[in-house]
Structures are given as structure tokens and as C-alpha cells.
Assembly symmetry: C2
Homo-oligomer: 142 residues x 2
Amino acid sequence: MSTPTIHSDALAQKLADSGLRNTPQRELVYDALLTKRDHPTADEVYARVKTQLPGISLATVYNCLETLVQCNLVRVVNFERAPTRYCPHLHPHAHFHDESTGATHDIELPDQLLAAIKAVLPSGYSADAVEITFRGKLPSPR
Amino acid sequence: MSTPTIHSDALAQKLADSGLRNTPQRELVYDALLTKRDHPTADEVYARVKTQLPGISLATVYNCLETLVQCNLVRVVNFERAPTRYCPHLHPHAHFHDESTGATHDIELPDQLLAAIKAVLPSGYSADAVEITFRGKLPSPR
DNA sequence: AACAATAGTTAGAATTATTCCAATTTAGAC
DNA sequence: GTCTAAATTGGAATAATTCTAACTATTGTT
């Protein structure tokens, strides 16, 4: 048989780069994301892929998505499902999430920058809130 | 007895403005957030408040936090616990979450703006990733 | 080609954060 | 003081995700 999905070449390449195997499940999951680019949830991807591969399991969909993220083919929108956190600091500000410690630090945002950020919205869009989160590792404390 | 917590006045005021009652639980929850500003989870707040009011329930902590958010005294950091979404669009971009429909749209970010955003980090900080999410309602479609 | 070693998939159980619900308690209005 | 609505409580329910152990497929080796 020929390639079962549309974008298998790029995927196969990236997988090989990471020393991972190409599988029909991975192809179909990636294809589902590329075919309808509406930021689906794992469950939605599961539903779509199932029409083509009825035997696939939800666990596999999660595994494949994780693999695609690790190969830099896919990004996660609501980063790592961590418990919601609460902040009594109301002045608009960003957060820096330190991946070494798990701590979250406030980062001040100049009003000017905030205005510039809101200005990128196409006309017709208006945002009630903007959430800006940096992720990275802080150098070990002095 | 006098006021059991430190910041009860501002809280009482805001609650009154919203037609809500002041309760010891709400005071203690708010106080926990103000006393240690480390963006705690609901569970962490629960643990802290429990030392002062052992009978409080986790459900009440969730309720109080929700109330404080509604009074504009507290902000949520990882907005609404929704399923993680996946995006095959790798070019740096922001997301607009339309609260009317639940849909998520890509928003392009000029490189220049992205650079300006990264520039607000204090020295010593370096971000592997920046997540920018707008939330709002889109006008009904034409 | 057979065969081990490894990687991937599967179903279902387990976990975790959160919400819901029905019953009880509390606070403010009269 | 009593009534009514609001708030709290404990426990059950839900939902997203992760874990586990068994099975399957693929690769490299002989």
C-alpha cells in the first residue's frame, strides 16, 4: 500500500530525527491536526481518528500527541494541565513559570507594551483579558 | 470578637459592592492569598486556611476563590480548566479564545512585538516559550 | 527466515482537579 | 426573635489525564 495519509513525509523525517518510529496511529493523529486546524482537544482528535482507525485507543492518541509535541511538530495551547493558580495582584502583569522549581513569578508589563500587544488583534476582535506566560528555567539562585 | 483577618476592610467593601456577604471563610481565603503571594493552588489555599479554621471544606475554598475572582479581588492564572488543545502551527503566534463559541483563533505576532515582549524579562530570566492568550467575545458573524 | 530486544499500542484502572448536590448552618431584614 | 436567602459542608459525581500490565509490531542480528 502507499502512504495512508497526506503529510507522512515531513512526519516520517521528524520522527526519524528523534529516533522514533513512524506508525499509522501517529500519522493519522498528525493528519487530523493538519486537516482541520481548529485546535482540537485530545478527545476531538480521538473522535476524528477513530473514523479511520476504529481500534485506536484514547491513550494512544494522548501518546501520539505527546510524541508530536516532542518532535516539535505540534504545540500545546493550554500548557501542561496543572491546577489553576490564584493571584491577588490585579495590576496587569505577566507570569514567569520557572520549570526548575515550579514557582510562578510576576513580571511587570509596561502599559505601552500592553497597548502594543492588544493592538495586534484584527479589527472586530476585542479582548477582555490577555494572559501572558513565559516558561523557562531560572539560573540557580545566588 | 474583632476582625479575624488583616485585610477585611477592602474585602468587606468589595463584597458589599457586589451584594455579597462577608464571611470568615472568605476573609481567611483572601488573607491566605495576600499573606503569601506565591500563586497558590486551591489545594494549597485549603491547607493554609485549615490551620486557622480546621472545619473549612475544599468546596468552600473553591467557592470563596470564585467569589473573589468575581469581585475583582483575585485573578486566575491558568484560566478555566479546559482540556488541553493542540496546534500544528509552529510559527510563534498568539491565541484568541472566543468565549461565545469556545473556538480558538490564531493571531499573528510581528517579530518585533515578540522581541519587545521578551525584552521585559528582568536580567537572569530567559524564556523558552511565551504563551499569549486573549480572551473575549467576537461580534456575531456577518 | 527465526529470534530476541525494543518500541508502540491497548483496555481499563487510577489519579487529580474540579463541580455538583442535598442537607445544614448562618446572617441580615423585618 | 423569626423568616428568608445566602453560604457552607461532606460526599458523590465528573472529566481530563496518566499509569500499568499485557499484547503486538518492528527492527537488527545471526
